[in-house]
C-alpha cells in the first residue's frame, strides 16, 4: 500500500489536503458518478446512525454497525480521491523540478562588445549574452560565437554533455559545461521551451478521451442497473417478509457497483501522461497517448531512427583499370580536407588498411574544394609544384608507386592542375569523361545491394573507383522493431536512398515496407494513404516540412531539437530527441488502455464473490434455504457486510501502484496478452475477493462484540 517515489512521501500534506477537497459532492458528481453514489450512501447511513429508530422495518441493527459502515464508505471515497491526488502530485513534482530551473539568473548582456550584468527576465529576443563555463543559459537562443559542451541533463535527462557550436540552438535553463559561448536570445520572456513544457504538463488535468468517456458511460450504466436492482429489492424483500436493513442494502449496492475502476479511472489517465513525462516525452493531450496504443502503422525515418545517421566507409571498390591501392590513395586524398564523419571514416579505413598516398606532401599542401549543392562533390586541388623535378619521388621512395601516384606525378610534371574529387555517382559522372559508364553503374549497384551508398572518386575527369559508405544500424533497433512487429504493428521506412539500399537496410533491421527515394513531402501523402485504409499512423519528425504530416498523423512525435513548427504540429515532443522513443510511446499507450481494461474486468468479476458474501447475510435469517448460498461461512451476517465493505475499500489503495505503474506489458501476440490478462484479472477477480473477504472476516471476527 505504501507507494513512494524518490523523496516524495505519499503522506505529503498537500496530497492529503487535495484529496480531502475532492471529497466535495459537487466535484464527485461532475467527475465520478460511481463515487458520488457511494458518498450519497455514506450520508444516508450516517444519518441513520445519528437518528436511530427512524423505521422499524428497514433499520434494525445497532447504531455502532451504522457508524462502522459509514466510516468504511467514506474511506472508500477518500481512497478514490487520494489516488487521483497522488497521481496529480506526481505530475506536479515534475513541473516543480522544471520550474526550479527557471529561477532568475544573472546574464551578461553584450552591449557594444562590453559585458553588462542584467537580470535574465529583462532580456529580449535579439539580445546577445555571453555565457561562461558553469553558468546557466538565461533563455532559449542560438549560438553566434564559440563552441562548448552543454549539460542538458536537467531538461532531457541525458547525462552526457552535448556538443554545440555556432548556429546550434540552446535551451534556457541548461548549463554550459566548458568554454564560453555567445548566445543570441530568440525566445520572449515566458515563452521559452521550458514554459511551454510546464504548461503542457500542468494541462495534464485534461479533457476526457473517447475511451475514457465510453468507459465512464458503461460504469454509470452498470451503476444504474444495480441501483434499480437494490431499490426494487428493498420493496420486494419487504413484501416477501425479509427484514432487510437499509445499511445492508446500501452495502450491497456499493459492493456491486464498479467502485474499484470508478475510483482509479482518473488516476490511471494522469499516470499515463506522467509515465511519458518521466521518459522525457511531453504529451499535449491524453488523446495522443491513447492513439499511441492504437497505432498499427509506424512511419520511421531511416536516418536517426533506424540507423545512427553517420555513414561510414566500409569498403573501397576500384574500377577495372585500377587496383585497390589506387582507389584508397585517391579516396584518402579527396577526403583529406573533409571534416564530415563520412570523410573522416574514409581516412580511418585507409589507416586501418595501412595505406597512405605516396604523394602525401602534395596532399598536405593542397587547397580544399568544398562541397556545394550545385556540384555535389568535394575534394582537393593540388597546388602547383614549386621544386618540380629536383626529386622525382619526393615523398617516400620506399612506398610502391601505383598508377594513381604515377599519374599524379605525370600531371604535376606537365603542370596540369590536379583535382581529386569524390561525390555521388551521378555527380561525378557529369564531370568525368574517361570512364566505363556501364561498369561504374554496375559496380555502384553492387554496392547498393549490400546496403551501402556508393561514392565515386575521380582524378580530374577519370573515375578511379567507388567508396562504399554504410550507415550502421542503431543498437537494439532490431530487437525493438521485433517487439513492435509481434504486437501487430507495421513499420514503414522512409529514406532518400535508392530502393536497393533501402531494401537491404530494411531487411537487416526487420522493417516491413520501404519508401525509397522519398522527399520529405512524401511523408504527408503516405500518412494520408495509410489513414484512408483505416490505419492509426504514428510518425516522427523534426523539420518544418514534417509539420503537416505530424499534424495529420494520429501520433506525431516531434524531436526537441527540431523546429518550432514541428513541435507545434506534433502531439508529443521528445525532449531527448531520440526518434526510437516512439516505440516507447506506443508501449505506454497500450499499457494505459490495458490498465483500464484490466481493472474494469477485475471490478466486475469481484461482484460474484460479493453476492455470495452479502446475500446469505440478507436472507438466511428468514429463509433457511438461502443458507445453501453461504459458501464462505462468515462469522455473522453483520461481519459479512462489514468485511465485504472493507474489502471493497482497501482493494483501491492496493491497486493504486498498479494503476500508476500500469499493467505489465510484454511484446507478444494480442491473443496471448488477452488470455494472460483474462486469467490474471478476470479469474483472479473472481477468486481473490472470496479469499480476501474470508480473511478480513476472520480478522473482524476476532474483535466482534
Amino acid at each position: 500500500m505504501v507507494y513512494q517515489r524518490g523523496k516524495q512521501s505519499i503522506f505529503d500534506s498537500k496530497i492529503l489536503r487535495d484529496s480531502a477537497v475532492k471529497l466535495s459532492p459537487l466535484y464527485l458528481a461532475r467527475n465520478s458518478p460511481v463515487m458520488f453514489t457511494v458518498e450519497v450512501a455514506f450520508l444516508l447511513v450516517l444519518g441513520i446512525a445519528l437518528i436511530p429508530n427512524m423505521s422499524s422495518d428497514f433499520v434494525n441493527e445497532n447504531s455502532l454497525f451504522y457508524f462502522e459502515s459509514a466510516i468504511i464508505l467514506i474511506a472508500t471515497v477518500w481512497f478514490a480521491t487520494f489516488s487521483e491526488s497522488l497521481s496529480e502530485a506526481q505530475a506536479r513534482a515534475k513541473v516543480d523540478s522544471l520550474r526550479n530551473l527557471e529561477k532568475e539568473v544573472q546574464a551578461k548582456k553584450l552591449v557594444g562588445g562590453e559585458e553588462v550584468p542584467v537580470a535574465s527576465t529583462s532580456l529580449r529576443p535579439g539580445d546577445r549574452v555571453r555565457v561562461y563555463a558553469g553558468e546557466i543559459i538565461p533563455r532559449d537562443g542560438i549560438i553566434t560565437e564559440g563552441k562548448s559542451f552543454i549539460d542538458e541533463s536537467m531538461m532531457t535527462g541525458e547525462s552526457n554533455p552535448v556538443f554545440k557550436e555556432k548556429d546550434n540552438p540552446v535551451l534556457g535553463g541548461t548549463k554550459v559545461a566548458s568554454d564560453k559561448i555567445t548566445v543570441e536570445i530568440t525566445a520572449e520572456a515566458g515563452k521559452s521551451f521550458l514554459d511551454e513544457m510546464v504548461s503542457l504538463i500542468e494541462g495534464a488535468t485534461r479533457p476526457k478521451t473517447k475511451n475514457e468517456i465510453a468507459l465512464t458511460i458503461l460504469l454509470a450504466g452498470l451503476s444504474l442497473i444495480f441501483i434499480t436492482v437494490v431499490g426494487t429489492m428493498m420493496f420486494l424483500g419487504y413484501y416477501l417478509g425479509y427484514r432487510m436493513d437499509i445499511a445492508v442494502l446500501f452495502a450491497l449496492l456499493v459492493a456491486l457497483m464498479p467502485t474499484t475502476i470508478g475510483a482509479l479511472l482518473p488516476a490511471i489517465g494522469i499516470a499515463g501522461i506522467n509515465r511519458l513525462a518521466r521518459d522525457n516525452i511531453v504529451v499535449k493531450s491524453g488523446k495522443g497517448v491513447e492513439a499511441a496504443g492504437d497505432c498499427d502503422v509506424l512511419i520511421l525515418d531511416k536516418t536517426g531512427t533506424i540507423t545512427e545517421g553517420a555513414r561510414r566507409a566500409i569498403a573501397f571498390v576500384p574500377l577495372e583499370a585500377f587496383t585497390e591501392q589506387d582507389i584508397v590513395e585517391a579516396a584518402y586524398a579527396s577526403s583529406f580536407n573533409d571534416p564530415t564523419p563520412e570523410g573522416r571514416s574514409i581516412i580511418e579505413l585507409a589507416n586501418q588498411m595501412k595505406i597512405e598516398p605516396s604523394f602525401m606532401m602534395e596532399v598536405l599542401a593542397a587547397k580544399p574544394i568544398d562541397f556545394n549543392s550545385e556540384t555535389r562533390y568535394s575534394g582537393i586541388e593540388l597546388s602547383p609544384k614549386k621544386k618540380l623535378s629536383v626529386n622525382p619521388s619526393p615523398s617516400n621512395p620506399d612506398l610502391p608507386r601505383t598508377r594513381v601516384s604515377s599519374r599524379i606525378e605525370d600531371m604535376e610534371g606537365s603542370n596540369i592542375q590536379v583535382r581529386i574529387l569524390k561525390g555521388a555517382v551521378d555527380a561525378i559522372l557529369k564531370i568525368a569523361s574517361r570512364v566505363n559508364e556501364a561498369e561504374l553503374k554496375w559496380k555502384a549497384q553492387e554496392v547498393s545491394k549490400t546496403g551501402g551508398t556508393p561514392l565515386a572518386v575521380a582524378i580530374n575527369d577519370e573515375v578511379i573507383g567507388l567508396v562504399s559508405l554504410k550507415d550502421t544500424l542503431k543498437k537494439d533497433i532490431r530487437e525493438k522493431l521485433g517487439e513492435v512487429h509481434i504486437t501487430g504493428i507495421n513499420t514503414v521506412m522512409i529514406t532518400g536512398d535508392n530502393l536497393l539500399t533501402a531494401r537491404m537496410i530494411a531487411k537487416e533491421a526487420g522493417i516491413d515496407q520501404v519508401m525509397a527515394e522519398a522527399k520529405p513531402t512524401d511523408k504527408l501523402g503516405r500518412v494520408v494513404d495509410e489513414q484512408l485504409k483505416g490505419h492509426v499512423v504514428g510518425m516522427i519528425g523534426d523539420g518544418t516540412n514534417d509539420a503537416p504530416a505530424l499534424a495529420k498523423a494520429d501520433i506525431g512525435l516531434a524531436m526537441n531539437r527540431g523546429t518550432a513548427a514541428a513541435r507545434e504540429a506534433a502531439n508529443m515532443v521528445d525532449l531527448d530527441s531520440d526518434p526510437s522513443k516512439i516505440l516507447k510511446a506506443v508501449k505506454l499507450g497500450k499499457q494505459l488502455l490495458m490498465t483500464r481494461g484490466a481493472i474494469t474486468t477485475f471490478s466486475i468479476a469481484n461482484d460474484i464473490a460479493k453476492y455470495f458474501a452479502i446475500l446469505p447475510a440478507m436472507f438466511s435469517k428468514v429463509n433457511p434455504k438461502a443458507e445453501a448460498l453461504n459458501l464462505m461461512h462468515l462469522h455473522s451476517p453483520e461481519s459479512a457486510v462489514i468485511s465485504t465493505l472493507i474489502f471493497n475499500a482497501v482493494i483501491i489503495p492496493f491497486l493504486i501502484p498498479l494503476s500508476l505503474k500500469g499493467v505489465k506489458y510484454k511484446a507478444e501476440p494480442l491473443e496471448k496478452t488477452f488470455v494472460k490478462n483474462m486469467l490474471i484479472y478476470g479469474v483472479g477477480g473472481v477468486v481473490l475477493p472470496f479469499a480476501g473477504i474470508k480473511a478480513i472476516d476472520l480478522l473482524v471476527g476476532l474483535f466482534w462484540r
Binding site: L218, T228, G241
Partner: protein, 252 residues
C-alpha cells in the same frame, strides 16, 4: 459458431433442472428440453404447465429470458447478442491495449451508451412493475393473498416473460384483470420497441462508419472469444437478477 453457443447454453440449463410434477409423453428430460429451448428462443410455447416444474427448471427458464440472446431466437435474439458482443469487445479491446473495434469499425462512446441503455431497460421493466404490483396489492389479491416465494416467482415470471417477448405464463387465469392485462401490455411494448429502436440506432451509426482494411485485433470466433462472451453474458444479466432468483424460485 454462435448457434453452437446457444445450444451449449440451453443444454447447460437443462442439466440442472428436473421436473417434479407433470408427466408427459416426452418424459422428464424431453419436457424440460422442449420448454427450455422454446422459452430461450423466445417462442413462448410450452408443452407442460409451468407450475409442475421443479425450481431448478424454472430458474433455467428465467435465465433463458433474462439473457434473451440466443441467436436465431424468435425476437431479439441475434440483436441482443450483438449488443453483448459490442460490450464484450469493448472490455476485451481495452484489455489488449487497443481501442475496441467491431467488424473493423471503432466502437465509440455513443455505441456503448446505447448498449448500456438496452441493458438498463430490461431489469427496469421487469422489476419496477413487480414492485408496483405488490404496492398496489394486485399481486397479493391475484395469488391466494399470501406473499410466498411462489407468488413472487409467478409475478416475476409474468413480467420477465412479457419483457423478453415470450408469452408463456405462470399466473394462470386468475390474472385476467385490468391491472395485469394493462401492465403486461406496457411491459411488452417497452420490452420490444425501445430496444429495437436503440439497436437500429447502433446499426445506423455503424453503416456510416468507415470500415478499416485492417485485420481485427481480436477475432470474434473461436473458443476463446466465445468463452469470454459467455462469461460476460452471465455477469451482465444473471448477476443483475441473482437476488430475485434467490427470493423467488430458489426458495420454492
Amino acid at each position: 459458431m454462435l448457434i453452437g453457443f446457444g445450444i451449449m447454453l440451453i443444454l447447460g440449463f437443462s442439466q440442472q433442472s428436473g421436473p417434479t410434477g407433470l408427466e408427459t409423453r416426452f418424459g422428464n428430460f424431453g419436457t424440460v428440453l422442449f420448454n427450455e429451448a422454446s422459452i430461450a428462443t423466445n417462442t413462448g410455447s410450452a408443452n407442460s404447465a409451468l407450475t409442475g416444474m421443479s425450481p431448478n427448471a424454472v430458474i433455467g427458464l428465467f435465465l433463458g429470458m433474462f439473457v434473451q440472446a440466443i441467436p436465431g431466437a424468435d425476437g431479439l435474439g441475434m440483436m441482443m447478442m450483438i449488443v453483448f458482443v459490442i460490450l464484450t469487445l469493448f472490455l476485451v479491446g481495452l484489455m489488449v491495449g487497443k481501442t475496441p473495434e467491431f467488424m473493423s469499425m471503432k466502437i465509440n462512446p455513443r455505441d456503448v451508451k446505447i448498449a448500456a441503455f438496452v441493458f438498463l431497460i430490461h431489469p427496469m421493466i421487469i422489476l419496477i412493475p413487480a414492485v408496483v404490483a405488490y404496492t398496489t396489492d394486485n399481486a397479493q389479491t391475484v395469488v391466494s393473498g399470501v406473499s410466498s416465494p411462489m407468488t413472487f416467482t409467478q409475478v416475476l415470471y409474468e413480467y420477465t416473460s412479457a419483457a423478453a417477448n415470450n408469452g408463456s405464463d405462470y399466473l394462470g387465469t386468475s390474472a385476467n384483470t385490468a391491472f395485469w392485462n394493462w401492465s403486461t401490455a406496457w411491459v411488452m411494448i417497452l420490452g420490444r420497441y425501445p430496444p429495437i429502436g436503440l439497436m437500429l440506432a447502433i446499426a445506423g451509426s455503424f453503416t456510416t462508419r468507415d470500415r478499416k482494411e485492417v485485420v481485427e485485433p481480436i477475432k470474434t470466433s473461436g473458443p476463446l472469444f466465445v468463452g469470454v462472451l459467455s462469461v460476460m453474458v452471465f455477469i451482465l444479466t444473471v448477476l443483475t437478477f441473482f437476488p430475485f432468483l434467490v427470493m423467488g424460485p430458489f426458495s420454492l
